[in-house]
């Protein structure tokens, strides 16, 4: 079974982002970039599937600018076999990413796609469900457990009131939640080895129509949320209770 893993390059999840004064977006100069944490989980799961013999080949795919090759190298270092960059220099919405992935899934004849549940920059959480819809495939979103048996998948999904367990037939698109696994780090020898693994670069505009790459949501302005007024430290539990009564929340 051939598996495609989608990896996105984002501002590192632990960086405190700063909104640009001109309202055009957030500061990206000299800011640490990393693989989206949920994509790390998707990659780890793919590598586990290969280690268990369930997957035969792992293809890491990223859509975006040239710098995304760095993110793809990380996926190769952790255990993916080859990488494809669908290069595009302006921002891509989940709808466009799903359209690109769809073409690559068909080209690669993949049977399973593993994505993250959400990118932590624009927090959409759309791409997996969209891709599954476009392909007409089974969909397992926010999964925290995956088992493969007899050509079918059993997954547990994290939902509002607990877990939902589904049986999915292949082919399928899955999106990884936090508790699916704990991603490993790439070892130095594997980082070296990854340099000689194949990396293909394609123009996104050669894969889908130019109109399909254009954003459907026009960003008019990006602002900082209003700050919270500074609070006070209280000395004791009884002082806390007094204050809460005064604030009329008790």
């Amino acid at each position: 079974m051939k598996v495609i893993v989608g990896v996105k390059r984002v501002i590192d999840a632990y960086v405190k982002v700063r909104v640009r004064a001109d309202g055009g977006g957030v500061e990206t100069d000299n800011v640490k970039m990393s693989m989206n944490p949920f994509c790390e989980i998707a990659v780890e799961e793919a590598v586990k599937l290969k280690e268990s013999g369930a997957a035969s080949e792992l293809v890491a795919v990223s859509c975006g600018p040239k710098e995304n090759q760095e993110t793809l190298r990380t996926a190769l270092a952790v255990g993916c076999d080859k990488a494809i960059l669908a290069e595009h220099d302006s921002p891509l919405e989940p709808l466009a990413v799903a359209k690109i992935l769809r073409v690559l899934v068909e080209r690669e004849e993949a049977e399973l796609v593993l994505l993250g549940k959400q990118s932590v920059d624009n927090d959409y959480g759309n791409t997996g469900q969209m891709l599954a819809g476009m392909l007409g495939w089974s969909q397992g979103s926010f999964v925290s457990r995956i088992e493969i048996a007899d050509g079918a998948l059993r997954v547990a999904r994290e939902v509002d009131d607990g877990l939902e367990k589904l049986r999915l037939s292949l082919p399928a698109v899955l999106s990884a939640d936090l508790r699916l696994n704990v991603p490993r780090y790439a070892s130095l020898p594997n980082i070296m080895k990854a340099r000689s693994k194949p990396m293909e670069t394609l123009a996104a505009s050669d894969l889908v129509a130019a109109d399909d790459l254009k954003p459907r949501l026009e960003v008019l302005e990006v602002t900082e949320p209003p700050p919270r007024a500074a609070g006070v430290k209280v000395e004791s539990v009884s002082a806390l209770v007094e204050n809460l009564k005064e604030a009329k929340v008790l």
Partner: protein, 312 residues
């Protein structure tokens, strides 16, 4: 006036409180009253009546099918796409149901949804968070059709109005062999639902064990509060996933939020910083949670919680 459909959710008997907020958001998109779609399993048709009482709902469209006991995106998205052709916008409250179904529906309609909407600025212009709420984007939807998921915490709940008509609508689930529901694992609780509770008390890694959450639950019971948790507490297995508050868990904005043994990472703040009054109990006076707390108590939680329980 724009035609808008609200994609409702219910607990089997009545619509969820988040639907009331979605109706408010949908009405400001529509510039008037809206339709509410409810999916019921046979025997559960009475949810229609609870939706019909919501102020601003012009009519309830009730679809009944055995598959709707556990609706799946694979079978639901195709008939929903057909129904959506009658409307200029579809609005759903943020929750796992909308997160599962709306993007798949959006793909079939070739629309990029606006998710996690915080404000309807104009019928085609919305405010949504980026980077765990550390930035806010004002976006304009350029397409003909709009799909929105809206945060219940950001919109007033619609009130009660005159009963609207309940009409049945056929929404035949698509035949599919892709996926089948097997089981739900839910823990029953008598406490209020996390995202709509007036008071929330959450525990973090500082709680040290699931057993220790009992001390926190004792306070929750005195306050009539819902219980929440940080990711670290969920990852450590103290409580299950549905308790997680944050960027990738639930977003809450109660009148009172009490964070106990939680450091205040940006991903946690994303889920609670719009609460009216925030209290932090932490024995590390440098913990970042104190920067957003209205009232901070530097104290060992194992001392503070029992004392708090006694004083309430």
């Amino acid at each position: 006036m724009m035609s808008v459909l609200v994609l409702g959710e219910h607990d089997g008997a009545v619509v969820k409180p988040s639907v009331l907020s979605a109706v408010t958001a949908a009405r400001s998109v529509a510039g008037g009253d809206v339709d509410l779609l409810l999916l019921a399993a046979p025997g559960g048709e009475s949810v229609g009546a609870s939706g019909a009482m919501i102020e601003g709902v012009a009519r309830v469209r009730l679809a009944t099918d055995a598959a709707f006991a556990h609706p799946l995106a694979e079978s639901l998205a195709p008939p929903l796409a057909e129904l959506a052709s009658e409307y200029e916008a579809v609005v759903a409250p943020v929750g796992s149901f909308a997160k599962t179904v709306v993007p798949r529906l959006a793909a079939l309609l070739d629309v990029q949804p606006v998710t996690e909407v915080l404000e309807v600025i104009e019928p085609d212009c919305f405010l949504r968070p980026l980077y765990a709420g550390n930035a806010l984007a004002k976006v304009r939807s350029v397409g003909q059709k709009r799909l929105l998921t809206v945060r219940a915490t950001a919109f007033e709940a619609a009130g009660t109005g005159a009963a609207a008509p309940v009409e049945s609508v056929s929404l035949a689930p698509a035949e599919q062999t892709h996926s089948a529901w097997e089981a739900d694992e839910v823990s029953a609780s008598d406490r209020p639902e996390l995202t709509t509770a007036k008071v929330v008390i959450s525990g973090g890694r500082g709680m040290q064990s699931g057993e220790n959450f009992k001390i926190l639950e004792a306070v929750a019971d005195k306050l009539g509060a819902a219980v929440g948790a940080s990711r670290a507490a969920v990852d450590a297995g103290f409580v299950s996933n549905e308790f997680q508050v944050g960027q990738t868990g639930k977003v809450v904005a109660p009148d009172l939020y009490i964070a106990v043994g939680i450091s205040g990472a940006i991903q946690h703040l994303a889920g609670m910083k719009d609460s009216k009054v925030i209290v932090a109990i932490n024995n590390d006076e440098e913990a970042p949670i104190f920067q957003v707390a209205d009232f901070g108590l530097v104290e060992d939680l194992f001392v503070a919680l029992p004392e708090l329980e006694k004083l309430l």
